[in-house]
Every structure is written in structure tokens, then in C-alpha cells.
């Protein structure tokens, strides 16, 4: 298996702090069902992708400036040829509220996905977003009484609770079925058919509210592999913590 490594370092003009992103691509003969996803919505997405044939496996590794793995980074592959139309309805995804925190804190979904917001706390929560990609407000509610919300525009949606100011969640709406989030080891795996892609990476600490970084690369049929490294500036905007935990 031939392997070609390429290193690209993108210095962000903003400066402080950095992420280092390594992208390795290798073609695979067999399709593997990757189960390293942690919530069922994503697992369904991967399962759907597994139906394709002759896919490549894109391994993404993200670490911060101190070489510590970065989790909850969203990696999306946008095919240059455009996303093939799909008539399959997207399964709904849940974004829970547990102990006055949104769970998960970061969530990636494909455009057209419906999110619903169960409230697992025994107090009432409100959910709002003033983000351009999706502006909505769920007035105070408890349990599963809130109406589901359809995310039909790509972009970052920042969610808050008007009652509990520290609560926040980030929903990254991507216009592609080829995406994943890094796990606690900073690792993400995306399977995609051969072709040219733009990879977009997004993380709350890096670029909330701004365009994700983009990088062009190609997934080929042969055994060629490539390795790329990007350095991204980080912003210090860690998710809020309830006052009693501070």
C-alpha cells in the first residue's frame, strides 16, 4: 500500500492557541460498520452510509497546541460533485437536558434533520436560538412536551436557556451525509466514496459563529493515502457550568 503524506499548516490570523488537525486517508476494500459513535442518531447515519460500495476511510485526528486530543470537533466532507439527492427521510435526533446542561454539548446533524428536545430535569427549561441558521424559541416546558424543530439550513446554531444562562449547546448543521465528531481521543472516522472533497472542521472553542476551516483533498480508488496537518486558532469559550458546580 503506497502512502503519500502531505503536511499543510494553516496559520490562523487570530493567533492565540491552536489545534493541530491530521487527516489521513486510505482506501478500503471492505466496508466497515464503524460503531464508535455514541448516540443513536449518528449511528443511523453511518449505517446508511455503509450501504454504499467501494468507500474510502478518512481518519481524522485533532489535537490542541499541547498535543492533547480535542473531542467534540465536527468534521464534514463536502463532495465537490455535490451531494447526491436522497429521498430517504432523515431520522430525528434528540438533544437532551440533564442536570441543567444540554447533552450533548456539541451535535452535528445533516441538513433536513429534525431535533427534539426532551427535558430530563424535574424543572422547566426554555430553549432559544438567535442564530441565523435556525432562530426559534421553545417556551418553558418540562418532559417531552416541546415540539420538534426542523433544521433546514446549514450553519452553526447556538442554543441557550433563558432561565439558566450558563446552559449552551452547539448544533452544527452540515449539508452532507459524510461527517463525524472526534471522540475523546480526538479521533474521527468518516467513510466516503471516492471523489474530491472539501473538509470542514468546526469546534466551539475554535470558530463558533464563523465559517469552518476548509481544505480540499481527494479520495481515490487506489491505495494512495495522504496525511495533512492543519493548525487552527482556538478561542477560549468553554461550555458554561451551572453556578453550583463552579
Amino acid at each position: 500500500m503506497m502512502r503519500r503524506n502531505r503536511q499543510i499548516v494553516l496559520n490562523n490570523a487570530q493567533g492565540a492557541g491552536a489545534f493541530r488537525v491530521s487527516i489521513g486517508v486510505e482506501s478500503v476494500r471492505e466496508i466497515e460498520l464503524h460503531v464508535s459513535v455514541r448516540w443513536w442518531g449518528a449511528a443511523v447515519a453511518c449505517a446508511a452510509f455503509a450501504c454504499g460500495a467501494g468507500a474510502a476511510q478518512v481518519n481524522v485526528m485533532i489535537e490542541d497546541a499541547g498535543a492533547a486530543p480535542v473531542h467534540d470537533a465536527v468534521v464534514a466532507l463536502l463532495p465537490a460533485a455535490g451531494v447526491p439527492p436522497s429521498s430517504t427521510p432523515k431520522p430525528p435526533v434528540a438533544l437532551d437536558q440533564v442536570k441543567k446542561q444540554f447533552v450533548p454539548h456539541v451535535l452535528a446533524i445533516e441538513v433536513g434533520t429534525t431535533l427534539y428536545f426532551p427535558n430530563s430535569d424535574n424543572i422547566r427549561h426554555q430553549v432559544y436560538s438567535f442564530s441565523e441558521a435556525k432562530r426559534f424559541e421553545l417556551k418553558l416546558y418540562s418532559g417531552k412536551s416541546a415540539a420538534p424543530v426542523l433544521f433546514d439550513q446549514p450553519g452553526v446554531v447556538v442554543l441557550g436557556c433563558n432561565i439558566h444562562d450558563w446552559m449552551s449547546a452547539y448544533v452544527y448543521v452540515v449539508p452532507t451525509p459524510y461527517f463525524a465528531m472526534t471522540d475523546k481521543d480526538g479521533h474521527a472516522v468518516i467513510k466516503a466514496p471516492p471523489g474530491k472533497y472539501t473538509v470542514k472542521i468546526w469546534h466551539p472553542r475554535y470558530a463558533h459563529g464563523r465559517d469552518a476551516v476548509s481544505l480540499q483533498f481527494e479520495v481515490a480508488h487506489d491505495t494512495e493515502s495522504l496525511q495533512q496537518t492543519l493548525t487552527l486558532a482556538a478561542e477560549d469559550d468553554s461550555p458554561g457550568v451551572p453556578p453550583e458546580h463552579q
Partner: protein, 555 residues
């Protein structure tokens, strides 16, 4: 001597009193002065803490009221969606509600997006905008900015939705009432000063009246110069203890000037000085009186002793030391008396001895000279005394001498003097008595002395011989009188008579006498009389022999 003892005691007392009073008073004054300054400094320190507390409390209060706006859902939505009209109205409304003088909205980069004061968007307001950005950091503490002639306390809080989408800030002008509130509690005058960018410092709020405020403003630059943080400042003729504190303030200097009227220190000190004079003055006078009494009390016995000593050593005939109290002084006086008595009196007969006799004779001559009265000196001895001493013993001799002394005294006037010169030699001084009178007295004495004396060994009989010399008929000085009397007595002895022989004045040629007197003086000094022991009759008789030789025989 005694005068100086008294003065010395008085001097020591007065010195101690003055020293103690001066030391105590000075020490008290210095301590009070230190206390007054310490209290004033403490008050300034308390005021300093109050200023910082007040600014901190205002910061907290404004922050809380600003958080109400930042947390408002509609405001958050307006900021998130850049709804300028809603933002402007919210800033104006909330600013008015909490009494802010200016309200702004800034983006995350510190740029002003909206403001109730359009002048904040001019370049002149750049320092304020910088301070506003600095105020975003709550840990920096209270931020105060000088802007268009005013001092503003700035408070900035983030607007989160839930990410930080902007910063809302407000400015509250620091008016005089802020300083007034601090003064109301601390009693210290407070002035707030901001340093303009490169320009003159600006006095923005103060508790001082306008005229003093102007005076302070003129001195600001000197006061705020480095190293001039404390001292006394004169404002319109009134002195103030001044302390300048710099408040940490996001880069632009901000000062609070704390001032206490200097009177707060000097007035109590003046009162203390007054009190000290009123208390220490009378005490000093009382102490001085006590010192004088004490000095006299201490000096009195010493003076009494001195007087006693003077009397004892002087020629006051018959006067004695009056000792009334039985204390140390009376003991000393008694001892003095005894000592003196021993040197002046014959212990056997109690009669004055040669020394005292010489003094008394001198004073008697002086008096006779003064009063132009005669004076008789009678020299007496006892015939056969030596054989009594030799055959019957000294004790018997002593008895005879004592008896003779008693008999002589008994027969004479109290003012007459009987002295014992030595052995069996007695001398009488008869004031105011002429030769005739003296001879009569001697004749009267003869049978009395010749009376037998009772003794354990049977009656003893002695006879008396006498020689008389009279002032001024025979001589005018003490020694000549005595010598002439002695010579006369010897004459009677030579003639084996028991009668009295007086030398006629005519046969006593003056030149011979004067020669003999001078020869006596040449041979022996006046100490012959005073220094010779009372028993030493050898020495005492020697000069008399010379007179006998020089005196024409048979005259």
C-alpha cells in the same frame, strides 16, 4: 554654714520639683502629640478604606443593575440579531432607570456599537473607550474615567446568548454626594481627581467648599507628583493633613485626596497645653511651698546644733545649750555640751578651768573698760595643801579642793567668778570691785576657808593665802593682772603671812611691767593660758618668776 545648708536643701528640693514637673509635663505633651497624630493618621487610613469600599460597592451595585439588562431576553435577542432600534431604546430606558449618565453597547472587540452619548464615538473619547474595554475585566476592580469635565465610574458586563454576543456598559458620574457620603461617616474631606491624558489633573468631586476646592485644584500637580503622597496642605489659610491615594484603574490614574483639618491635631494639643498650665502651675507653687517648709524642717535641727555649738565655744558666761527634745539632735547637742564642758571646766571641783577663766577674764576686762568700773583679780592658794596630799593621800587632797571651791562660791556673789587654775591654785574675778573691796572680801574669806573640814580621818585645817591685783589700778591686761596677783600672793608667802598683800600702784613702774609683759609674750604665746593643762603648774608658774625678778623688790 547653716544658711548654706538650708539653701542647699531648698535648692535640691526646688531642682527636683522643677525637673520632675518639666519632665512629666514634656513627656505627657509629647505622648499626647504622638497620639493625636496617630489618631489623625488612623482616621485617614479608615477613610482610605471607605473610599475603596464605596467605589467597590458602587461597582457591585451598578454591575447588578446592568446584569438585569444584559439578561433580558428581548435585549439579548436584539443584540444577537443586531436590532439597532431596540438596542438604542433599551440602553436609553435602562440607563435612565438606574441613573446612568451614559450607556453603551460594545462588540467583542471593544468597538462601540451603540451609545446614548454620541460624543463617545469621537476620537476624543478614545481613553474612555479603552477604559470601557478594560472594565470588561471585572477582576480589575472599579474603573473611573475622566470625560468632558466629569469623573465617571464605568461598569461593563457581557451579553450572553448564551455565547458572548456583546458587552453593555454604563457610566455613572461621580458627583459631590459620593464624597459627601464618605465624609458623613469618616469626618474626612474627600476629593476625587482624575488625570487627563497628558494634561492637568482634574478635580471632579469634593466635599470642600468652592474656594478651597479652587485652591486645591491649583495645587493638584504638586500634590500628585511622585513622592508627595502625604503632608500638610494649606487651603485658603487653613491647614489640612493630606493623604493622596491612587486607585487601581485600568491604566488611567485616578486619585482620591483625603484631608483632615490640621486643627483636629492642634486643637486638643492646645487644650492640653492650657490644662497643663492650669494644673501644673498650682502644683508647682504648692510643691515649692512644701519644699520650703521641708527645707526648713530639715535645716532647723542643724541650725539649732550650730547655734548650740556657737554658744558652747563662745564666751557667753553661764549660758547653756537649751535641749528640749530627746532626739538625735539633742543627743549630739548633749555630747557637744559634755565635750565642751570637759575642755572648759575642772572635773574635780566643777569650776571653770584655766582656758575658760582666761576667756572670762578677758571679757570682764572688756566690760570694765567699757563701763569704767574697777575689777579685782584675787589669786588664792592653800597653805599646807602639799603636805595633806603627801601625808593623807590624793583623795583627801581632792576633798579639800572640793570643799574649798564650795566655800569660795558660797561666800561670793553669783556674778563673781571662781576658777581653778591647777593644783591648789584658785583665782577669783570680782567685777566692779576696787582694791579696798577686794581686800575686804579676802578678809571675809580667810576665816571661812580656815574652818576645819570634816573628814573620815578627823578634821583638816588649811589656811588660805591670797594676792590681789586691781584693774585699772595695777594693770590693764589680763596676763599682767594675773601675774601681779600671783606675785602678790607669793609675796605674802615669802613674808610668812596669812594676810593679804596688795601691791601699791605707785611702785609698779610702767616700763618694768611692760618689759615683763613683752618678755612673757616672747617666752610663751597666749596659748600659755589656753593650752596648758590645768594640772601643769610648772609651766604656769614659770613666767611669773620672771616678773618677780624684773620687779623692783621692796617697793
Amino acid at each position: 554654714m547653716t544658711q548654706s545648708f538650708h539653701s542647699r536643701v531648698l535648692l535640691v528640693f526646688v531642682g527636683l520639683i522643677v525637673l520632675t514637673l518639666a519632665g512629666t509635663t514634656a513627656g505627657m505633651y509629647v505622648a499626647a502629640r504622638r497620639t493625636a497624630h496617630g489618631l489623625a493618621n488612623q482616621q485617614l487610613q479608615i477613610t482610605e478604606r471607605m473610599v475603596l469600599d464605596t467605589l467597590g460597592a458602587r461597582d457591585h451595585e451598578y454591575r447588578t443593575s446592568l446584569q438585569a439588562l444584559a439578561g433580558d431576553f428581548a435585549f439579548r435577542e436584539a443584540v444577537s440579531t443586531h436590532d439597532a432600534a431596540t438596542i438604542a431604546s433599551a440602553l436609553a430606558n435602562h440607563g435612565a432607570r438606574v441613573g446612568a449618565d451614559v450607556a453603551v453597547l460594545m462588540d467583542n472587540a471593544g468597538r462601540i456599537l451603540a451609545s446614548t452619548d454620541s460624543s463617545l464615538q469621537t476620537p476624543a473619547a478614545a481613553p474612555v473607550v479603552r477604559l470601557l474595554a478594560a472594565a470588561c475585566d471585572q477582576a480589575a476592580g472599579p474603573v473611573i474615567a475622566g470625560f468632558s469635565g466629569k469623573l465617571m465610574q464605568l461598569v461593563v458586563v457581557p451579553v450572553r446568548a448564551p455565547d458572548t454576543v456583546g458587552w453593555v456598559g454604563m457610566g455613572f458620574v461621580m458627583r459631590d454626594f459620593v464624597a459627601d457620603q464618605i465624609k458623613a461617616i469618616s469626618g474626612t474631606d474627600v476629593s476625587f481627581v482624575a488625570e487627563r491624558n497628558g494634561g492637568m489633573p482634574m478635580l471632579a468631586a469634593s466635599t470642600l467648599p468652592q474656594s478651597q476646592r479652587d485652591a486645591l485644584e491649583r495645587q493638584l500637580q504638586a500634590l500628585l507628583a511622585p513622592g508627595a503622597a502625604a503632608g500638610i496642605t494649606g487651603l485658603e489659610g487653613e491647614d489640612y493633613l493630606t493623604k493622596v491615594i491612587a486607585v487601581g484603574n485600568g491604566g488611567q490614574a485616578f486619585f482620591a485626596i483625603l484631608q483632615l483639618p490640621e486643627q483636629i491635631v492642634s486643637a486638643p494639643l492646645q487644650a492640653l497645653r492650657h490644662d497643663l498650665v492650669w494644673w501644673a502651675g498650682p502644683f508647682a507653687i504648692l510643691s515649692l511651698i512644701a519644699a520650703m517648709l521641708g527645707a526648713r524642717f530639715l535645716a532647723e535641727p542643724v541650725q539649732a546644733l550650730a547655734t548650740a555649738a556657737r554658744n558652747l565655744t563662745g564666751s557667753n558666761r553661764g549660758e547653756d545649750v537649751a535641749v528640749q527634745k530627746a532626739d538625735d539632735v539633742s543627743t549630739i547637742a548633749g555630747a557637744l555640751h559634755t565635750l565642751t564642758h570637759r575642755t572648759q571646766y575642772d572635773p574635780l571641783t566643777g569650776l571653770p578651768n584655766r582656758t575658760l577663766f582666761a576667756e572670762w577674764l578677758s571679757s570682764s576686762i572688756s566690760r570694765a573698760e567699757r563701763e569704767h568700773t574697777p575689777l579685782a583679780v584675787v589669786f588664792v592658794d592653800l597653805e599646807g595643801f602639799r603636805s595633806i596630799n603627801d601625808h593623807l593621800g590624793r583623795a583627801m587632797g581632792d576633798l579639800v579642793l572640793r570643799k574649798t571651791a564650795q566655800r569660795l562660791l558660797r561666800c561670793l556673789r553669783p556674778t563673781d567668778v571662781v576658777a581653778r587654775l591647777g593644783a591648789d591654785e584658785f583665782v577669783l574675778i570680782l567685777d566692779g570691785v576696787s582694791q579696798v573691796g577686794a581686800l575686804q572680801i579676802v578678809e571675809r574669806l580667810m576665816p571661812v576657808i580656815a574652818k576645819p573640814m570634816e573628814s573620815p580621818g578627823g578634821p583638816i585645817r588649811v589656811s588660805m593665802r591670797a594676792g590681789v591685783a586691781v584693774y585699772p589700778d595695777h594693770a590693764r591686761d589680763r596676763e599682767s593682772l594675773l601675774h601681779l596677783a600671783d606675785a602678790a600672793k607669793h609675796e605674802s608667802k615669802n613674808r610668812k603671812q596669812t594676810t593679804v598683800v596688795a601691791r601699791p600702784p605707785a611702785v609698779d613702774p610702767t616700763p618694768t611691767v611692760s618689759v615683763s609683759v613683752s618678755s612673757i609674750r616672747a617666752v610663751s604665746s597666749t596659748d600659755t593660758w589656753s593650752g596648758v593643762p590645768w594640772e601643769g603648774d610648772d609651766l604656769s608658774t614659770q613666767p611669773m618668776k620672771k616678773i618677780d625678778i624684773d620687779t623692783p623688790e621692796g617697793a
